[in-house]
Amino acid sequence: MMMNHSLKSQCKVNPGTVIEGKWHRNRYTIIKELGYGANGIVYLAKNQNQQVALKMSDNGMSITSEVNVLKSFAKVQGSALGPSLLDVDDWDRRSGKVSFYVMEYIQGPDLLTFVQQKGQAWTGVLIVQMLKDLDSLHKAGWVFGDLKPDNLIVTGPPPKIRTIDVGGTTIQGRAIKEFTEFYDRGYWGLGTRKADPAYDLFAAAMILINTAYPKRFSKTTGDLKQLKMMVRQKKELMKYEDVILNALQGQYSSADEMRNDMLQLTRSNPAQRSTVNRNAGPAASSQAASRQMYRQKKQKGSFFETLLITFIVTLLYFLYIYGQLL
């Protein structure tokens, strides 16, 4: 991790410390540290026998920003987009003021740990679950941003995937607030860092790849070719090859679309994991083929479109320069 000395010293508290909010006067007893990131530390804490997660940071702005996201999630009905928000407050310490917020404690192993314990068969199921949540998040106008296995917790039983840490969650159309290189479209040279649904779906595909390469891998050529090669080297990934490649290239416009393709694949692939892909069933392959054809047609059209737009923009630019010089 980065060496942020100030962060560690300001928000580091020992188990047993009682934190009392300045505004709402709620008291929380720290039990242990759950994790830390660039923007603060998350603790497990207790408030009147209820276990909660408490995030604090000496950067009050990032706390406020995350609280705004969680609040707007709460307005989306009947969904479990992020952890639910319980309290927001400031804690006066001798060394200064620390902002914190309290949320529901989501308990369980992270995605990679869970898949390692329970087997690869869970990967598809959990990703499909996640895509459903992503779809409602996107429909509400957000993009999750920093989507990665560390931020995906499997609770249960019955196993259910939940997202935590909304530090990267961004309004659609804006620049992604926070990301992790391996799961970032821009890092692999496959798109911008503007928040759109396809940004999250790229990360979802990288998470799938990550389940077969738990230690990740480093960028060599750093393009689609490298990622394709990595997918083809793993049997368990070949099963999802079409979906992964579509998502990596931004071919899905919604999480639902990707989810449906995932479901198609899992449905037409009953239990015989040794003969993958080719036996993927007529439904899946024909669907994939038609998708590809459609795409080719679209690409041709978009080429002329690009040319036309470039031409118009150049023309306008010259007019502008001309106007400036006069």
Binding site: M2, M3, T64, V88, R174, R193, Q324
Partner: protein, 245 residues
């Protein structure tokens, strides 16, 4: 709320200056002119000594910016994080100023109850997305930086990728120090993206002294020069950032 253009100097170095004016004083001068100075200290296996560390923190502090020391592998992510953090900090300063005018006294965002703070934060977020940004990158090319330069280049390309995802305009320029003849040398003039950097960067030679102070000083005049040139071209550019700060 008019914020004008945010101006930042991003200094990438791996140690202590050893020539010319005190860089901390030059950073203070920059702040007076409404320019924020951010510093990133790059380490390899070696560790930056105490003196270097103090200087890095000192420059950022007196330049009203953010500093961070990292291993070169983490440079890309740090560069964009530091730049954004400094942007938010500056914008927050602008918003606080407005708040003080409305609420009176020395109230800042941090003094508001959490609910209201959230609403103000939305304004800061919105500004961060749309404000115009000028970043002048100052790269230390003294001998010890030699094998870190490819990583620096990657990090700068990555920075332009991140910032160009915003809807506000960006302009970047890149300077290196020491230059071939002078203390500082211009590598790339103001441009909206840094892609042209790839070819220039590979030809860079390293070596010599580390005139950090003079480099910051020279960088300041570059902001100025550009301003007068632009005001020649168009008269509508009066609202500069110092007004609101």
């Amino acid at each position: 709320m008019k914020t004008g253009t945010l101006k930042q100097i991003l200094l990438i170095t791996d140690g202590c200056s050893n020539q010319g004016e005190d860089p901390i004083a030059m950073a203070a001068l920059a702040k007076e002119q409404g320019i924020t100075v951010n510093v990133i200290g790059v380490m390899e296996q070696d560790v930056i000594d105490e003196q270097g560390l103090n200087e890095i923190e000192g420059i950022a502090m007196s330049g009203g910016g953010v500093s961070q020391v990292v291993y070169s592998q983490q440079l890309s992510q740090t560069v964009q994080m530091v730049t954004r953090k400094a942007m938010t900090q500056t914008l927050q300063g602008v918003v606080n100023k407005e708040l003080q005018q409305i609420l009176g006294g020395s109230k800042t965002m941090e003094d508001l109850p959490p609910d209201q703070r959230g609403e103000v934060m939305e304004v800061v977020d919105e500004l961060g997305e749309t404000v115009e940004l000028e970043v002048l990158v100052l790269v230390d090319t003294s001998a010890s930086m030699k094998h870190k330069l490819p990583t620096v280049k990657e990090a700068l390309l990555d920075l332009s990728l991140s910032l160009n995802a915003r809807s506000g305009d960006n302009r970047f320029s890149v300077f290196v120090f020491p230059g071939k003849k002078k203390d500082v040398e211009k590598l790339l003039d103001w441009t909206p993206n840094l892609e042209s950097l790839t070819s220039i960067f590979s030809k860079l030679t390293t070596g010599g002294i580390t005139p950090t102070g003079p480099a910051i000083h020279e960088a300041l005049t570059h902001f100025k020069k550009k301003r007068s040139l632009r005001s020649l071209l168009s008269r509508d550019d009066e609202s500069f950032f110092e007004e609101s700060v």
